[in-house]
Structures are given as structure tokens and as C-alpha cells.
Symmetry: C2
Subunit: 250 residues, 2 copies
């Protein structure tokens, strides 16, 4: 009886973006562990035990998965997007490091998925086509001062920037401060993309500029991407394309 | 007769990481356009015309695809990894912007794929589990001074860093300079991952520190990831795990 854990990325929403590797792991799993809305994205199966949990209990969820695998179960932990980007893979390793030595011989695989910023970028064009950074705007797990410092340095580096978790009911102000810092650092003409619920039936894309962007254009289902100084908008009769060229002139 | 272009990401190597969306587009395409090694990854089909090209002719390749689609062909442009990350999507939009207005009504879809940094991260643990940046170390299309400035600012921001195209025969020195800058900015104890040919039979993973890293540990098939100040190594009997926790203490 040999247990394992696969931390599987379900991608941004559409089933057509789930890799065959992830589908195969889900088909072989005995137990499914994850935040309830992600567990709900996996089709039920009679011999698949579902362990749905609330948000913000990542370490409990990780310890449950490790314990199940140690008892010989085949455990799929499901994440939206890619499990290695602001998701369950890091939480699992935090629990592993703090747990019993016996957990360190468990078979653990991280199965990558299409992360939200790359799905959003694809739907809008190619705003992340040159050097870029990814920042989680939630200050649940880090001080706001770290976020602010990173925003200013990322703007100085002229990265395109992808922002995860821009806004929630418990953190109504951070994103407005983020926009103010970016307007100051990058100027009002800089393009910004609001990409909500990409690849789902509720998908909404909105390309505008920092000068006209408002905090209430984002919620927790929105991915926000701000261009670099090189990012361009191509106007088309069928909708704009936002992209960052591959070159920077000398 | 209605042509289209799908810019499709083939992922890092393994066929199990190609999304169903990409597989469906390849099955419906009449023409395949891309750098020869990527075109070779797609199974031949009698009614599929293959247009393989050399490296560094991205704009010619993009113009060919646009012209074919304008003549009613169903064109798949194939990229390794994700087409939006240092790949063909940006090149296509550069050609589109410079080309005839009629191209602006063409049906163009970018189909995301598993980009190399996320596959490498998954194989090693979760080094990109917190804020990070992605930098293309090739100075073919940007001045070296831009790269150096970005390296120093990314280190100051304490991002984990993913490096694409660290080294080639035509650019033997840049990566050694990169390592020297990072050693100076991040110190010799900082973890670094060399992930070569991930998810292929030639895969090699090597976790070490900036103090012991050497430029010849990377080639053009290597993805390099440098941790943030928070990145940790968990030693295990079955090999180390490299990961960045989700929290930064206040």
C-alpha cells in the first residue's frame, strides 16, 4: 500500500486548459483535498473521497493530505491555476517541513497548471511578452510595506506586472493605494488590463490606462496586468490587443 | 473560407503537459508554422502543411502566418512553453501592427501553455511560491545595461527570479556576469536551481547556492531559478525540495 500526493493545477477555469497529466492524476486519486470551489470543479466518482475545506486553512489542508498519504491513500490536492503560484504547493511544503520526519519519504509531485496571469495575458494579447513580475497584493501574509516597496522597485525596473488577489471585502483599500503608487511611478498613460474570470462563461476583459483605472474595477476574481513602458495597444475593429514587444531599443 | 491563427504553447516537453485546447487546435489546423524543433514535436498528418523555420526569424514566421490566414488557411503557430512568455505571441503582434490594415480583422487566438519556469518550479518544489519575476537573459533584443539594472532592482525587491535563455554559444559571458551581480546582491548562501530539459528524458535538476554556482552549469536548455531571501531547502532522503513560503514575517 503506497500512498502519494499530487498537487494539481486545475487552470483558470475552462476544462480545456487542464493538462492530461492532471486529469490522469485525478482519475487515479482516492482522495481529493482542497478549497471547496476547486474540489467542486472535479467530477464526482463513487470511489473518490472528497475533503472540501474553507478558504485560509491551507496548512490544515496540507497536513490532512500528508496524513492521508502516510496512511497509503492516493491524494490529489487541487488548486486553481498553477499550484506553485500563490497556491497550495508552498503550503504543503511548509506543513511538510514542520511535520514528522516520516513525511519526508512520501511521494509528492507538483503538477503544473495554466496560471491566471498567463491565461489573462493570452486573452488580451501578450502583455507579458517581455520581462515581468508577479505580485500577490493580499497583505494577509505579508506586511503592506513589503508590497509597496516591491511596487516601486518593479516600476523602476520597468517590468510588466501581474497582480494576483488585487482586492477583497476584507482588504478594500490596498488596491486603491496600489493604483496610486503605480500612477505616480509609471504615469497616467500606462496601459492596464482587468481580466475577470478568464476562460469561464463570466469572462470580462477591460483594457484602459492607469489614469482612468479605478479600484472598483477589480474584485477577487480579477487578474490585473500593468504594462511596461514598452507595452502597446493595437486598435482593431474586433477589439484591442495589448502586447509588449520582444525588443528594447539600445 | 475563413482563416484563423492559433498561437499554441506546446509546454516544456512532455506530451502530458499539452492542454486539450492546444491539441484541438492542432487537429483542426491546415498549416503549422514554427521553429523547426517545435514543429517536429507535432505528429504529422497528411493534410497538414508544415512550415519549419530557423531560429531568430520570428517576424518572417509571423508574417507568413498572417498571410496564410488572410488567404483562408487555419494556421497553428507553435511555441515551446507558453507563447506569451518570451515567445511567438509578441512577435506575431509586432508583425500585425506593422502590416496591412486587413490583418486587423483576422481571427487570432493565443492558447496558453505550461511555461518553462512553472514546470521547473514544480519539479523542484515551489521556489516561485511567493512574489517573483521572469527575466530573459538574452541580450540579442535589449541592451545588457537593461538586464543588469533589472537584476539589481529585482534583488532589492527580494523577488524570487526565473531566468530564461541564460546562456548560448553566441553569448558566453552574460550569465557569468549575472551570477556575479546576484552573488553581490543576494549573498553566497542564496539557493539557485538549474533545471535542464524539464519533463523530457534528458531532465536534470541541480539545487545549489550562488556561492558554488558556475556559469557552465547552464546552457540554452536550462531554466535558472534563484530564490528570494525567504526561499528554503528541505533535505529529504529522496532529494531536496526548494520552496518559498507564502508568508513574510512583519
Amino acid at each position: 500500500m503506497s500512498g502519494w500526493i499530487a498537487v494539481a493545477g486545475l487552470g483558470p477555469g475552462s476544462a480545456t486548459l487542464i493538462t492530461p497529466e492532471v486529469s490522469a492524476a485525478l482519475a487515479r486519486a482516492s482522495d481529493l483535498v482542497g478549497y471547496a470551489p476547486y474540489v467542486a470543479r472535479v467530477d464526482p466518482r463513487e470511489d473518490l473521497v472528497r475533503h472540501s475545506s474553507d478558504n485560509r486553512v491551507e496548512l490544515d489542508r496540507a497536513a490532512l493530505a500528508l496524513d492521508l498519504a502516510a496512511r497509503g491513500r492516493r491524494v490529489a490536492i487541487v488548486s486553481s491555476g498553477d499550484p506553485g503560484v500563490f497556491a497550495m504547493a508552498a503550503a504543503l511544503f511548509e506543513a511538510l517541513e514542520a511535520g514528522p520526519a516520516s513525511w519526508r519519504t512520501l511521494d509528492i509531485q507538483i503538477l503544473p497548471g495554466i496560471t491566471a496571469m498567463l491565461a489573462a495575458s493570452a486573452r488580451a494579447g501578450a502583455p507579458l511578452g517581455h520581462d515581468f513580475c508577479a505580485i500577490n497584493l493580499s497583505d494577509n501574509l505579508k506586511p503592506w510595506s513589503v508590497i509597496e516597496r516591491r511596487l516601486r522597485l518593479a516600476a523602476a525596473a520597468d517590468f510588466a506586472m501581474a497582480f494576483y488577489n488585487p482586492r477583497s471585502r476584507s482588504r478594500p483599500d490596498g488596491f486603491a493605494r496600489t493604483l496610486a503608487i503605480l500612477r505616480e511611478s509609471c504615469g497616467p498613460e500606462r496601459p492596464i488590463l482587468f481580466a475577470r474570470a478568464v476562460t469561464t462563461p463570466e469572462e470580462q476583459l477591460h483594457v484602459t490606462t492607469l489614469g482612468t483605472a479605478r479600484a472598483d474595477m477589480a474584485d477577487m476574481r480579477t487578474m490585473v496586468i500593468v504594462g511596461s513602458s514598452q507595452t502597446r495597444i493595437i486598435e482593431r475593429p474586433i477589439g484591442p490587443i495589448l502586447y509588449t514587444p520582444r525588443s528594447i531599443p539600445a
